[in-house]
C-alpha cells in the first residue's frame, strides 16, 4: 500500500569529513555504509570537505533500572549517547548540535557479571548499527545549499 523500496538517502554533500575518534565503532560502521551506499566521498582532510560531521559526544552509559525485592540490581539499561553537528567548509552550521540516545535493557545478577559483559557488547553493537541508520537519515534531511 504505497510502499516502495528505499532509494539512496543521497547525502546533500559531495565530500564529507567525519570527526570520529580513530577507534570509534560507530565511525567504522558509518564510513562503511557511506562508502557502499552513498555517492558522497569521505575525505581525510577537513579542509577539502564540503561538510564536516563533528562528533561532540560518544558515550556509553549503564544504569540500574530494577532491583530485586531484597535490593539487588536485577535489570540495567544500557544507553548509547551520540552528540554531533554538521558544518560546512566555512564552519557555518548546517545542522545544530543534535543528540541521539538509544537504549536497551539487560537483566543481570551479581554472579553473571563476566558473561553479561559480553552480552552488553552485543547490545551496544546492535545500538551502534541502529544509530548509524538514524544518523544517515538526519544527514540526508539537511537541505541542499
Amino acid at each position: 500500500c504505497g510502499f516502495r523500496l528505499r532509494r539512496s538517502a543521497a547525502l546533500p554533500f559531495r565530500t564529507l569529513y567525519t570527526g570520529f575518534a580513530p577507534t570509534s565503532a560507530i565511525g567504522a560502521e558509518f564510513r562503511r555504509l557511506v562508502r557502499v551506499a552513498e555517492d558522497t566521498e569521505l575525505v581525510d582532510d577537513p579542509k577539502k570537505a564540503e561538510a564536516r560531521l563533528e562528533v561532540l559526544r560518544e558515550q556509553r552509559e549503564r544504569e540500574v533500572v530494577a532491583f530485586s525485592t531484597t535490593g539487588r540490581p536485577r535489570e540495567y539499561q544500557l544507553r548509547l549517547r551520540f552528540g554531533f553537528r554538521v558544518v560546512d567548509a566555512q564552519s557555518r552550521e548546517l545542522l545544530p548540535p543534535t543528540e541521539l540516545v538509544l537504549s536497551r535493557d539487560i537483566t543481570s545478577t551479581d554472579i553473571e557479571v563476566v558473561a553479561k559483559q559480553q552480552e552488553e557488547e552485543l547490545l551496544f553493537r546492535d545500538m551502534q548499527s541502529d544509530l548509524v541508520q538514524q544518523l544517515l537519515r538526519r544527514l540526508a534531511a539537511i537541505p541542499r545549499p
Partner: protein, 739 residues
C-alpha cells in the same frame, strides 16, 4: 574603536584602529593610560593637581568615579574624593562619603562605604575598605549578603574580609553567620571561593540522620594541589559508628590519569573492629605502544556497604572488581590484550564469578578485503575457580568469522561463516576430562529489505518505513555436556539476540541451531529533519530442530517456535515519550516479560516518569519518579519503587520474593531568592527485612555555598531524565556593569 595601545602611542602618531574585542581588563594595569574627567567647575595647578566640583566624574579604563568633589594629584596619580562618592571598578560598585585611591596601582581606602558585587549578587557595608591592588580588596567590620538589603534573611559579618578576585578567593577573620536573625555559625577564620572555581579550603559540611550511622556530620576539606591534581579529605563523625576518614585523590597527566579513594574507620563503635573501603582507578596510554590500566575496589567486610551506604546503589554492590589490563597493537592490524580479572564477592554473591588469571587475547578485524569482512580472535585464559573444588584450568579458543556484506540503500544481505575451535586443559578437573577439545562451524545469512512510503501520522507529514528482516543460522550439534562452564550464561531474549547465532554468551557453549528469525521494524520519520518519531517492532524465531546444547540446570529448547517479541516506542509532542516491550508465549498464552515506561518533560527541570517492569518470577515492579514544582517557591522531587512480585525466588540468594517498597525518596526544596533549603527523606531495602532510612538537610545561602549534604547526587539516579540545573554563571558580558 579603541585607542592604540601605549607602546604604539609612544613611537607613532596617535591614531585610532578597529578593535574587534572590547575587553574591560585589556587596558587595566598598564601605565600611561589616559584619565578623563568632567564636572561643573575645574580648578587646579598645572602639572600638580586638579579639582573637579559639582557632579564630578573621573574615568580611567575599568574604573568610573563620581563624587561631589574630586581632587586628582598628577604626580602619583592619586585621587581624593568627598561627598556621595561612588566607584565602579569592573562592575563592582562602592559608595560612601570619602575615598582615597591611587589610579596607577589601584591602592587606596574608602571610609564607611556600602558595596554591591553584581557578579555574585552580593552586597554589604563596611567600616573601611582598603584597595590593595587591581583585584584585591580588604573590608573591615564588614557585612555581606545576597539578600535584598533591608532586613536580609541571612547576613555574614566579619572583623576583616579579604577578597582576591585574581585568586577567586575570599578569606575572613572573626566571622559570624546569622540566619533569620539567629546566629548559626561563628568562625575565628574562614575561607570561601568566589564563584565556582577550584580552591583549597573547607567545603560546606554535610548533615544527615541515618538509621545505620545515626547523626552524621562530614566536614570535607578540599586541597587544590595543582591544576591537574587535587585531594579531598572527608573527616566524618557519626554517633553510632564513630570517627571515619575518607579521601579522594585525583590526578591527570598527559599519559595517565586516575583516582584513589579510601574510607577508614579505625574502630567502628558497633562492631568494635576496623573497617575500610578502597578504590583505585588508573588508565595509561602510550608507554612503548602499550595502553591499559587497573580498577581495584575492596572492602574490609561483607556489611561495609550496607552500614555506610548513602543510597541503594552503593548498598547494592556485591562483586568488587580487581582488574589489571594492558593492550597494544602488534604487527599491522592485530591487537593484543593482557587481562587479569579477580573479584571480591560479598554476602549473597558468593562464591562469585570465575577469575581470569590471566587472559591473553589476540584480535584482528579486517574490513572490506575484496568485499569480505574477516574477524579473528585467539584467546588463552587461565580460569581460577571461586570454590575450592570447582574445575579450573586453561581454556583456549580460536574463532574466525568471514562475512560478505552486500549493503544497498533498499536491501542488504550478509552471508557469514565462522569456525570456533576450543581446547580445555584443566589442572583441577573435578570430575571433568582433563583435556577437552571441540570444533564447531556456523553458517548464517542475514537479509533485510527497507520499504518507504509517504503518509500522514497524527496530522503530520511522515515517512513510514517497513523493514522486514530474515535471519537463518545453522550450527551442528556437538556434545558439550562434559565441558565446564567458566564465563557463559544464557542471553536475554531480545531483538539483538534474535539476530545472533549463539543463544549463549561466553565461549563454553556453542548452541546447536537450525533456526530462522523473522522480524519487522516500522519507523515513523519526520521528513524535514530525518528524526525518528515512532517505532514498532515484532519478531519471532522458528526452530527447525530441538536445541540440545544446554547450560547445567537449564532445560533444552524443544518448542517449534519461540515467544513473540513486540516493541513500541516514540515521542509525542509536549516532551512526552514512551517505550514498551513485551514477550508473549503462544504456547502458554502467557506474558513472561514486559516493560512500559512513559516520560514527560514539559520544560527544563520538570519531569515525570511512570513505568512498570515485569519478568516472570524474577522482577515485578512499579516505578515512578518526578521533579515537579508545587508553587512558585516549593519544588518536590522523589521516587517510589514498589515490587508487586510475591512468587518465585531471587536467582542468586534463593530468598523468596516479597511484596513491598524497594526504594522511596521524597525531596522538598524551598527557594527564597537568596537562600534555598532542601530536605530529603529516603528509605531503601538493603536485604531481607532490612532497610536504611536517611534524612538529609541542606541549606544553601546563595553566593556563599551550601551547608549540609548535597542531596542532588542521590536524586540524580533517582529521577531519570532529570539534570541538575547548571548553576555556573555564564561568561560576563563585555559591557557587564558598564556605566
Amino acid at each position: 574603536l579603541a585607542q592604540a595601545s601605549a607602546p604604539d602611542a609612544g613611537t607613532q602618531p596617535l591614531r585610532l584602529r578597529f578593535e574587534s574585542r572590547l575587553g574591560e581588563r585589556k587596558a587595566a594595569g598598564g601605565d600611561a593610560l589616559p584619565v578623563y574627567g568632567s564636572g561643573e567647575r575645574l580648578t587646579g595647578r598645572t602639572g600638580r593637581d586638579s579639582t573637579l566640583e559639582g557632579e564630578a566624574e573621573l574615568r580611567r579604563a575599568g574604573t568610573v568615579l563620581r563624587a561631589d568633589r574630586i581632587t586628582y594629584y598628577e604626580a602619583d596619580e592619586e585621587v581624593f574624593a568627598v561627598g556621595n562618592v561612588r566607584v565602579n571598578r569592573d562592575g563592582n560598585v562602592f559608595a560612601g562619603p570619602q575615598l582615597r585611591l591611587r589610579l596607577d596601582t589601584s591602592e587606596g581606602s574608602f571610609s564607611s562605604p556600602g558595596y554591591y558585587f553584581p557578579q555574585y549578587r552580593g552586597r554589604g557595608r563596611a567600616a573601611l575598605i582598603e584597595f590593595l591592588g587591581p583585584s584585591r580588596t580588604r573590608f573591615r567590620e564588614a557585612s555581606y549578603t545576597t539578600c535584598e538589603p533591608d532586613d536580609p534573611d541571612w547576613i555574614l559579618q566579619a572583623r576583616t574580609l579579604e577578597l582576591d578576585e585574581e585568586e577567586g578567593m575570599g578569606t575572613g577573620r572573626s566571622a559570624s553567620l546569622s540566619f533569620m536573625g539567629l546566629k548559626i555559625l561563628a568562625l575565628p577564620a574562614f575561607a570561601f571561593p568566589l564563584g565556582d572555581e577550584r580552591k583549597s579550603g573547607f567545603l560546606p559540611p554535610t548533615l544527615a540522620i541515618n538509621s545505620r550511622t545515626g547523626l552524621d556530620v562530614v566536614v570535607p576539606y578540599y586541597w587544590n594541589i595543582a591544576p591537574n591534581r587535587d585531594f579531598t579529605l572527608y573527616p566524618r563523625l557519626s554517633t553510632r559508628r564513630g570517627a571515619q576518614f575518607g579521601g579522594e585523590f585525583r590526578y591527570l597527566e598527559p599519559r595517565f590519569s586516575g583516582q584513589i579513594d579510601f574510607e577508614v574507620n579505625p574502630s567502628d563503635l558497633v562492631t568494635g573492629e576496623s573497617r575500610h573501603y578502597y578504590g583505585l582507578q588508573h588508565a595509561f596510554n602510550g608507554y612503548a605502544g602499550w595502553s591499559g590500566g587497573w580498577l581495584v575496589r575492596g572492602v574490609s567486610d561483607d556489611n561495609y556497604f550496607i552500614d555506610y551506604s548513602r543510597s541503594i546503589l552503593t548498598a547494592a554492590d556485591r562483586v568488587l572488581p580487581q582488574r589489571f589490563y594492558a593492550s597494544r597493537v602488534v604487527g599491522r592490524d592485530w591487537s593484543l590484550l593482557l587481562d587479569v580479572q579477580k573479584w571480591q564477592p560479598i554476602l549473597d554473591a558468593r562464591p562469585g564469578p570465575y577469575e581470569r588469571v590471566p587472559q591473553m587475547q589476540l584480535r584482528q578485524v579486517k574490513r572490506d578485503v575484496a568485499g569480505f569482512d574477516i574477524d579473528t580472535t585467539l584467546d588463552a585464559t587461565l580460569f581460577a575457580s571461586p570454590t575450592p573444588t570447582g574445575p579450573q584450568g586453561w581454556r583456549m579458543f580460536g574463532n574466525t568469522q568471514v562475512s560478505w556484506p552486500i549493503v544497498r540503500p533498499g536491501w542488504s544481505i550478509v552471508p557469514k561463516v565462522s569456525l570456533h575451535a576450543t581446547a580445555y586443559q584443566l589442572d583441577r578437573n573435578a570430575g571433568f576430562e582433563t583435556t577437552l577439545t571441540r570444533v564447531v562451524p556456523t553458517f548464517s545469512v542475514d537479509a533485510g529489505l527497507v520499504f518507504e512510503r509517504e503518509t500522514r501520522f497524527f496530522g503530520r507529514d511522515t515517512i513510514q518505513t517497513l523493514e522486514p528482516r530474515l535471519f537463518y543460522a545453522r550450527t551442528p550439534y556437538r556434545d558439550q555436556s562434559t565441558f565446564p562452564v567458566f564465563d557463559s550464561a544464557t542471553t536475554d531474549f531480545s531483538f539483538a539476540q534474535l539476530f545472533s547465532e549463539n543463544t549463549f554468551v561466553g565461549h563454553d557453549r556453542i548452541a546447536d541451531v537450525n533456526q530462522l528469525t523473522a522480524a519487522a521494524v516500522s519507523r515513523m520519520v519526520e521528513p524535514s529533519t530525518g528524526a525518528e518519531r515512532m517505532r514498532f517492532a515484532v519478531g519471532q524465531r522458528i526452530y527447525f530442530s530441538d536445541q540440545r546444547v544446554t547450560l547445567p540446570g537449564l532445560p533444552p529448547v524443544t518448542d517449534g517456535k519461540s515467544d513473540i517479541l513486540l516493541a513500541a516506542g516514540g515521542k509525542f509532542g509536549q516532551g512526552m515519550s514512551f517505550d514498551t516491550g513485551l514477550q508473549y508465549s503462544l504456547e502458554s498464552s502467557r506474558i513472561p516479560r514486559f516493560s512500559a515506561v512513559w516520560r514527560w518533560l514539559p520544560r527544563e527541570g520538570q519531569v515525570l516518569n511512570v513505568g512498570t517492569r515485569y519478568r516472570r518470577e524474577e522482577i515485578g515492579q512499579f516505578d515512578t519518579s518526578w521533579r515537579w514544582p508545587l508553587s512558585k517557591r516549593w519544588m518536590s522531587m522523589g521516587r517510589l519503587n514498589y515490587s508487586f512480585l510475591d512468587s518465585g525466588r531471587d536467582p542468586v540468594s534463593g530468598i523468596p520474593n516479597q511484596r513491598g517498597i524497594v526504594e522511596s525518596v521524597l525531596g522538598l526544596e524551598y527557594d527564597a531568592c537568596c537562600w534555598i533549603s532542601r530536605f530529603v527523606i529516603q528509605r531503601y531495602t538493603t536485604g531481607v527485612d532490612t532497610s536504611t532510612t536517611a534524612f538529609f538537610f541542606q541549606l544553601e545561602l546563595k553566593g556563599l555555598g551550601r551547608i549540609g549534604s548535597d542531596p542532588f547526587d542521590i536524586l540524580r539516579r533517582n529521577i531519570p531524565g532529570f539534570r541538575v540545573p547548571d548553576v555556573t554563571p555564564g561568561p560576563t558580558s563585555r559591557y557587564f556593569g558598564y556605566e
